[in-house]
């Protein structure tokens, strides 16, 4: 018999591991996100049976299988709508959505604006390695245009393994700025973290979960195999200025646009907006309830 006692005892990380060994490469940034995720669940004292993680496809998409929570490993690019359906149907659950940068900003790029304008209470973690990992190294919309040169210069070792032709021609395109985009969508919580800084990352995930609304978290998570940006981020990652007021969206945008700096921290947060589920519930309350009998009667002659 599975007793509820199991859930009352304080959770340990090992209780949260599913027993399936991650297929990620040794050193992959995604391990850091998994650990911080575990830690955040523990710190937040969540009941794992009331947590659900929905993912898309990619190295990142493998995430849910490794955690002993409810998981849904869906199709490429649709983590957000799947998680939206789940959260709206089951507001009692704590729902995460997980994407890679390809999953989030390319094939799934159309969904973020809508999750943001609905303000559905989901914590959306984009595990951004600036590359397509699982499909072995094509550039993504967040890859720097000079990704091939960067790789060949050895700064970001490993990338020579990638798709050289596609990486080369990638220079004709520019990279997107996900934080700026999330701010333009008016997401009510916008943050960035670095998987190489686990404490901050854990704290930001916790804040994202606490935030009642759509939390967009971009986590820079180096792909050691195809685009090893650890050194780069160790050099460029800095916390947001101390005086940054996260209710100031214009300032947040300005910070998001600053070149050569990878700010981490909470760019923006608006706690005043009700979440989609709250609004839907309010909407239902305002209506007079009905029944099948009543509905059918309306059609009866």
């Amino acid at each position: 018999m599975v007793t509820t006692a199991e859930r009352v005892a304080p959770l340990r990380v090992k209780d949260l591991k599913s027993g399936i060994k991650p297929i990620w490469c040794p050193g992959c940034g995604d391990y850091g996100i998994l650990s911080s995720f575990f830690q955040a669940i523990i710190n937040l004292k969540l009941d794992p049976a009331k947590v659900a993680v929905v993912s898309g496809i990619g190295c990142s998409g493998r995430f849910p299988a490794f955690a002993r929570v409810y998981g849904f490993h869906g199709v490429h690019g649709r983590a957000l709508p799947t998680a939206t359906g789940l959260k709206v149907a089951r507001p009692d659950l704590t729902v995460f959505a997980m994407s890679g940068d390809g999953d989030a900003f390319s094939i799934g790029g159309g969904h973020i604006a809508h999750a943001a304008r609905r303000n559905v209470d989901i914590t959306y973690i984009v595990m951004d390695n600036e590359i397509y990992g699982l499909t072995k190294g094509q550039p993504s919309a967040t890859s720097p245009p000079d990704i091939l040169e960067l790789s060949l210069s050895g700064k970001t070792k490993g990338s020579r393994k990638g798709m050289v032709g596609l990486l080369d021609i990638h220079k004709v395109e520019e990279a997107l700025n996900p934080i700026l985009m999330a701010l333009a969508y008016n997401a009510s919580f916008v943050a960035r973290a670095f998987s190489g800084r686990p404490k901050e990352l854990t704290a930001i995930i916790e804040e994202g979960v606490r935030h009642k609304g759509f939390s967009f978290i971009q986590v820079m998570s180096p792909c050691v195999t195809f685009f090893n940006t650890y050194n780069h981020f160790r050099e460029t990652v800095v916390p947001l200025p101390e005086d940054h007021d996260p209710s100031d969206r214009m300032r947040a945008m300005a910070l998001a646009m600053e070149p050569n700096k990878t700010y981490v921290g909470i760019f923006y947060r608006d706690e005043t907006r009700p979440s989609l589920e709250e609004r839907l519930e309010e909407y239902r309350q305002q209506l007079s309830p009905t029944s099948m009998e009543e509905l059918l009667a309306r059609f009866t002659r």
Binding site: Y70, G74, L295, T300
Partner: protein, 603 residues
């Protein structure tokens, strides 16, 4: 003496209230105890343009939209010109003498009525529609009090408008009484007792109500003609039933939202038309693989591509049956009437829940938009299938196996929130626990498991009420078809029966898996099968020809395809003509080119 049924058609400019006239008249008839069946067209223009509204009104159940028109009401010149050819000899043309110059001659009666001027007389130009309704109420011998009641009902809370509206109704009614003689051939008397209990609704409404009755509490959809009516209806009622509706940003979002909700334990659906269903195919495979219950309604329209959004078709059958990356089992249902749309929605949800699989329900533009009178619904008879969930007291240490290999293929499914049952619904191939696995034996076993559910279902099909068979079991001529062609087929068969041509028909409401247990015995003793379909390729005919080829060929049964691809439903006469042709061929011993009609066979 009154007629058994009458066909009235109203033609004119959209926005002029043609549809309102039709809908009001139809409801007056229905609420007087008559049976109705409607058909309408949509203009190419966003507003304006020509429309026509046709209603068949009968004393007994009306089977179809009929063939020829008994009464044509022309509200403008085009309304006259476009439809006069379909007025039957001896029929009646009613035209607005302020707007229409009728053609010379013609083997029919003509009433010139100055509708516009009558409206002017009561200083209520927008009342013209009700003047027409009043006129027709009298002409057709419908009870005035019912008409008044309907006007009241339609105005609802806008009570201040009632006097002027009633005046308009009476104006038309009196005008007919005073200027025209009573003509029984254009009357249809409601039964004295007010008729049996009936509901009056469109196919889209029947689908939405069926979903609610089945326990659906989540809907996500993206607008698309002709499926939007379902969403609009549910947007009002689902929240009142405690459920949720979301207008998604596209069809892929809509279907994945429904999958997410269903994974969460809430019965969920989406509705769309062909182009949207095409976009949902990837997610359909996901539901198949993760074994999440899902209902998708497809109100088919004419294509390919954007095609003709307001025209009907049965051309999505192959898409529904066969589309998927690799092999993604599903069920496909097709109601064959407005009434049946209600019940098949319940089957759809029950099949989805019982087998944890996606179910596609195929309706079509004509059936979703038409109004029909249907028999009362006994809610106490409706069964809501419950999801099979794992038992909470399983022996300690025994991990929960979400995809356990069971004999019937169905594995108990945990709902998030259940303690100790966490698992990942996995879109990769997986072992029993749900862990990704690419082991050849696992893929073989899981493929067989997923298909085993279909076989389990096949064994249970007879319990689900999925076949509609009628006519003379001794008949040598059979009609085998699906979906909305039923109405025209039924009526054509009645005509044939009157001519002494025996026909038996079978409509299956389940297309995947096929109900062999019904179709095999049905085919025994038949010499010819007619398969009428609203598509070019004869999709259902191909399914039949393949699945029952052994029986068909051994018994030398001739298969006659009857394909219409004009965006319009069949008329009974078209089916009837084919029945007659086949009967003559049988007598004369002239055979059909059974399978390889080169023109039609494209695979």
């Amino acid at each position: 003496m009154s007629n058994e049924s009458l066909v009235i058609r109203i033609g004119g400019e959209a926005g002029e209230g043609i549809v309102t006239i039709g809908e009001t008249l139809v409801r007056i008839a229905a609420f007087s105890g008559l049976e109705v069946f409607t058909f309408r067209t949509y203009p190419a223009e966003i507003i304006g343009g020509q429309v026509m509204y046709q209603a068949r009104i009968g004393r007994e159940q009306v089977l179809s939209m009929g063939d020829d028109v008994d009464i044509l009401v022309a509200a403008n010149q085009l309304g006259h010109d476009e439809h006069i050819g379909e007025l039957r000899p001896g029929g009646l043309l009613v035209y607005d003498s302020d707007a229409v110059t009728p053609a010379e001659g013609g083997d029919h009666l003509s009433y010139a009525v100055p509708f516009t001027q009558l409206a002017r007389e009561i200083n209520f130009l927008r009342g013209r529609n009700l003047i027409v309704v009043g006129f027709l109420t009298s002409l057709m011998g419908l009870p005035l009090d019912r008409a008044e009641q309907m006007v009241r009902r339609r105005l609802g809370k806008y009570k201040e408008l009632l006097p002027s509206n009633l005046e308009a109704l009476h104006k038309g009614y009196t005008h007919h009484q005073e200027h025209f003689a009573e003509r029984p051939e254009f009357q249809i008397r409601p039964p004295e007792d007010g008729g049996e209990e009936r509901l009056v609704m469109t196919g889209a409404q029947a689908i939405a109500l069926g979903a609610l009755a089945a326990g659906c509490r989540f809907y996500a959809g993206y607008p698309i003609t002709p499926a939007t009516d379902i969403m609009e209806f549910l947007s009002k009622e689902l929240p009142r039933m405690g459920g949720t509706i979301i207008q998604a940003e596209d069809e892929i979002a809509a279907v994945t939202m429904a999958i997410g909700a269903s994974f969460g334990g809430v019965k969920a659906m989406t509705a769309t038309s062909g182009p949207g269903l095409a976009l949902m195919i990837e997610a359909l495979g996901l539901a198949s693989m993760t074994e999440v219950p899902l209902v998708i309604v497809d109100a088919q329209r004419a294509g390919p591509s954007t095609g003709m959004p307001t025209k009907t078709s049965q051309g999505d059958l192959f898409l529904a049956l066969y589309a998927g990356a690799d092999e993604a089992p599903r069920f496909v249902l097709a109601p064959d009437s407005v009434e049946d749309s209600f019940y098949q929605m319940i089957n759809a949800f029950n099949l989805a829940e019982r087998f944890q699989m996606p179910v596609i329900l195929l309706s079509d533009q004509a059936m979703a938009t038409r109004v029909e009178t249907i028999r009362p619904i006994d809610l106490s008879q409706i069964h809501q299938e419950k999801r099979r969930i794992p038992s909470l007291d399983r022996p300690e240490g025994n991990g929960y196996l979400r995809y356990a290999l069971t004999e019937d293929g169905i594995s108990p499914m945990a709902i998030p929130g259940m303690p100790g049952m966490t698992y990942t619904a996995e879109g990769l191939e997986h072992d029993e626990s749900g862990a990704p696995s690419y082991v050849p034996e696992v893929h073989r076993a899981m493929t067989e498991k997923r298909f085993r559910k279909v076989e389990t279902a096949r064994k249970e099909l007879h319990r689900w009420g999925l076949v509609n068979r009628w006519g003379d079991p001794q008949a040598e001529i059979a009609i085998l078809s699906w979906g909305s062609t039923q109405s025209a087929v039924r009526e054509a068969m009645e005509r044939a029966a009157k001519e002494g041509i025996l026909v038996e028909a079978l409509f299956t409401k389940i297309l995947l898996p096929m109900p062999d247990y019904e179709i095999r015995p049905f085919l025994e003793g038949k010499r010819a099968i007619i398969v009428p379909e609203l598509n070019y390729q004869g999709m259902f005919a191909k399914v039949i020809e393949h699945r029952y080829s052994e029986q068909i060929i051994r018994n030398n049964i001739q298969v006659y395809r009857l394909n219409k691809y004009e965006g319009l439903p069949f008329k009974p006469g078209e089916i009837y003509a084919k029945i007659v042709e086949v009967a003559q061929r049988l007598t004369a011993g002239v055979l059909a080119d059974r399978f390889l009609d080169e023109k039609l066979a494209s695979v």
